[in-house]
Subunit: 388 residues, 2 copies
């Protein structure tokens, strides 16, 4: 186990009907609230009215920023920052999925920074302060509700980049599983893949002597696998939706499940390059990339892949070699993704070889990526080629 | 799963040599520090000097309170509160095990309260504020390093009582596993039993549809069982000590592993009555109480005990009935405690029937205890009698 620091100050308020606590949660942070949301599905479901009532009940003045994109764009973030300055916003409230939360975090950080917010994503400046922000989550996927990370797309430069800061942890996140009942099938699937991928990025590690962390990772994977198809079959299955929501939050809650472990995150880096150019859903991109990443890297530490096959997929050793076990676990991952309807190849989105070189070059912009196996430009190109 | 709120603001700094970060961690909270510690073992190990150097390096004025007892006493807490007031203390730093941390929390809360600190333990007042406190942990056991709970003994009234508050979470806890290398064998054993008992209090629950939480609990139990004997055989086994330390913290970190679940805590209540009168180590008392509690209550929800036997102790179903499985799991628990040297009966401490009635009555002072099975005075007396 490596030395580590862990600090996650986000308060979670979880369960059916908890949006009714929103007013009291927002009130301590001031009077002027920037309400950030997406395409307007929250108006159809009635959530918008409920949130507005809560804010009104504590006398908040509401400034709105709607239309946050599924891969949230720098232009929206800049618009939000301008609103914060013009209206003297005290608090940023995100109502939506990970994209809306990420945009809200970038706005909160940018509003307290004199330079351009994109500096944070290009490692040109560090976040030293941010407006307080909070969230009402409507999608189980990114874990953004309990961490300080944000991923934003710069459509002009075709770059999709992330930051992480202690200053951009939500002060609170309201997690009501019933709000995810109306999430369409494909978004539910993408969320499941995203949650599992977050665990993979932490679980496939070269760090040894971390038996508790390994088991915490496996606990989430097993629970997601067990509940995903239940939620797909019966979208209003409260227990299944609640279990997925809790798994999504725990999978990336400031890195608790992998404290003291080297993380990888190469697959996320590769996926970001794909969706930076093609604007495909993040979870779908991960479904395409991850099994291919696994096939490319498993020899770095075959015992971890053997353990994965045994503990997560229940594959029995029998007379199988380590290699056979590892590959069986990888194949089981692919088969599960396919069974729930997640895509397997870039060609599913009509993506060919045209931009693979650009993606590979951009993926290693700040140097080789990953730690389970360090990947250079050539490695990334090979994984992308496997994914065609 | 039940609705829940979760908020754990404690920062954890974990690993070998992390005491070197102490000065920087304390500095933001002010200049006058109350240093709370126990019998003086930290002077023998050199930790005292290291802590003093760190505090000196940031120009802190140090006020000392030493001699905190293994079952920390109200008299010591009151002495600490007086010191805080007399010296204008800004920050309370606990250096030691759970007892020292608990005393420091009670001091921190009492120093910001006009009435008597014992009010908090007798449910006569709620903690509304506390001095900031932090810790350097020297023993893996109570989880006090990452929660807001404290247990204090009132030796005059023979009462051992607890409180919990968001205001008494440590602002930081420094967890260096090498500081536990010198923990004597019996204290290591008691710590192991304490950690496992904290998980039991959460795991044996009537709440259903909590598969992730169940697995998180099982993950800790499996990891403790796997590492306890390694640490006992080789007290300076870093990996084993680090794993136990992380398990201790995770087992009771504000209830993260059992969010949305009814907790029990009856066994702790019963043990507190024993050690309130006989001053035996808490972990030893739990080793005596818990298997007997299990035998008394398992029929409340036999499937949870069957799962416990299967997943934690690897007991194979074969042709066994639910009852046989449950009892096999309970027996495995007892056998493990005995194998590592934890006591099985009250008679080990020459405790007879003399005070069982008082203990049973005091245990239910505020009403029946437990939720897996609600226990009244008669039930407690029966469990204590089983433990003779």
């Amino acid at each position: 186990m490596q030395n580590f620091a862990f600090h996650n100050p986000t308060k979670i308020v979880f369960g059916k009907g908890t949006v009714s606590q929103l007013g009291g949660l927002v009130a301590p942070f001031g009077k002027t609230v920037l309400l950030v949301y997406g395409s307007g599905s929250i108006k159809r479901t009635g959530l918008y009215d409920e949130v507005a009532d809560q804010l009104r009940s504590v006398g908040a003045k509401v400034v709105e920023l709607s239309g946050i994109e599924p891969n949230p764009r720098l232009t929206s973030v800049r618009r939000g920052i301008e609103l914060c300055r013009a209206e003297g916003v005290d608090f940023v409230l995100a109502v939506g999925g990970g994209s809306v939360l990420d945009a809200a975090k970038a706005i909160a950080a940018g509003a307290r920074y004199d330079g351009d917010v994109w500096d944070f994503f290009m490692h040109k400046a560090k976040i030293a302060d941010a407006l307080p922000m909070g969230s009402v989550l409507t999608l189980s996927a990114t874990g953004s509700e309990m961490n300080g990370n944000a991923v934003i797309s710069n459509w002009e430069t075709k770059q999709k980049r992330s930051f992480g800061s202690i200053h951009t942890y939500p002060r609170f996140s309201v997690l009501d599983p019933t709000l995810t009942f109306s999430v369409p099938r494909d978004q539910t699937v993408n969320g499941v893949v995203d949650i599992m991928s977050h665990v993979f990025e932490q679980y496939f590690s070269l760090t040894t002597d971390v038996p508790l962390q390994e088991r915490l990772c496996e606990s989430i994977l097993l629970t997601v696998i067990e509940n995903a198809e239940k939620a797909l079959e019966k979208p209003d299955d409260y227990a299944a939706r609640a279990n997925l929501m809790l798994c999504g939050t725990m999978a990336l809650n400031g890195g608790l499940i992998s404290v003291g472990m080297a993380n990888d995150w190469a697959s996320h880096g590769i996926e970001h390059e794909i969706s930076a150019i093609y604007d495909i859903p993040h979870g779908a991109g991960l479904s395409i990339v991850f099994p291919n990443w696994m096939r490319y890297v498993y020899e770095s530490r075959i015992d971890r892949f053997v353990q994965y096959a045994e503990r997560v997929w229940g594959i029995e050793r029998g007379g199988k070699s380590d290699e056979d076990m590892a590959l069986a676990g990888i194949n089981a991952t692919r088969a599960f993704f396919t069974r729930i309807g997640a895509p397997a190849t870039l060609s599913f989105y009509d993506i060919g070889e045209e931009h693979l070189d650009v993606m590979a070059r951009e993926a290693v912009l700040f140097g080789p990526i990953g730690s389970f196996k360090k990947l250079n430009e050539k490695d990334v190109k090979e994984i992308l080629t496997l994914a065609l």
